[in-house]
Amino acid sequence: MCRDCGCSLGPAATRAPLAAPTGVAGKVETIEVITAILGENDRVAAHNREHFDQYGVLAINLMSSPGSGKTALLEATIRALGGRLKVAVIEGDLATENDAERIRACGVPAVQISTGNACHLDATMVHDAVHDVPLAGLDILFIENVGNLVCPASFDLGQHRNVTLLSVPEGDDKPAKYPVMFRAADLSLVTKTDLLPFITEFSLERARASLRQVGFGGESIELTSRGGDGFDAWLAWLDREVAAQRERTRRGETARPQIQPEGATLHAAGHRPVR
């Protein structure tokens, strides 16, 4: 049982003891199942979403390869907001507490999840962290996923929106190489655009085309965490999403990212209307 909120989540059930082989040939039967393999993760994710919605908090999952500028974006965002919106951050990292410390240095609460050898966050890790986040009065909870362009895309965390980052030094062909991740985005950010003059082989045109080819149909913003027009567009997107989340909360509705890992759609977990 979830020790803090009293919900019925907790460590996975202990394994059933193995039946001793009897030596007698048994009867073989086939059971048709058809369930989402990650159904349990999806259930916990839906539960997380209920926690967020209960407090009207917008939850955003940031995904990118290592070093694309997720933490730098958060630092710059927190500074630019200047307390106008209340923000907290859950940081996923294989081993260190560095990113959480960088966020705390900006005066915002941050909870570090050390994933050990797991290359992605899952809903249970986020659930454990959520109880250390002061949700009351919060506007946005950012979840910085582990830097990885593959694994995080398969796990619903209970976020309302997915944001992917593609930094200029990585090259404009990354969406084509990692289609599952980039397709999952509600908003795609091309970051480190201040480096465009130095990395002349990067074409924003090709990056956009590559995104379109993996079926990404959302909004795309090009920016640098150093500020500028693109950065303002990102802040405006956040404002719109916060307003939308407040409106949904008022109506008792919730939202899921545009593209869902398989299980979540199958499950249609949760009992509130989704839009």
Partner: protein
């Protein structure tokens, strides 16, 4: 390598099915995986024995059925199979398409052995 985590989740589902059906052991497991699920069938097959060790599914065979990415075109209506990084209509090239297959990560079927003598 999140395939191990996926296999562990799979084993938990299989254990549940085995328990509900009073299985003595699991003989085989059939899953369906699409390219847009983000898991690699081959990596799943490698991770599976590690996740299954010591469980009722320890000696079960894993059958991974793969399915293609399939889209339906909003402009010409054609249904075509496409590559995961070319999600456009295979017939007219329009990118306004709906994905109708390829996101699957499903447990389909579990073959179990029960005690022949067991009275239900």
């Amino acid at each position: 390598m999140h395939e191990l985590a996926v296999c562990q989740a799979l084993i938990e589902q299989v254990e549940r099915v085995a328990r509900q059906n009073e299985a003595r052991r699991v003989v085989s497991i059939v899953i369906t995986v699409g390219p847009l699920s983000g898991v690699e069938p081959q990596l799943l097959e490698h991770a599976y024995p590690i996740a299954a060790a010591g469980t009722v599914a320890e000696h079960a065979s894993l059958v991974v059925e793969t399915v293609p990415v399939r889209v339906r075109c909003r402009s010409c209506g054609a249904e075509t199979d496409v590559q995961p990084n070319r999600i456009v209509c295979g017939s007219c090239g329009d990118w306004q398409v709906d994905v109708t297959g390829g996101e699957e990560m499903l447990l389909r079927r579990v073959e179990i052995e029960t005690d022949a003598a067991a009275v239900h």
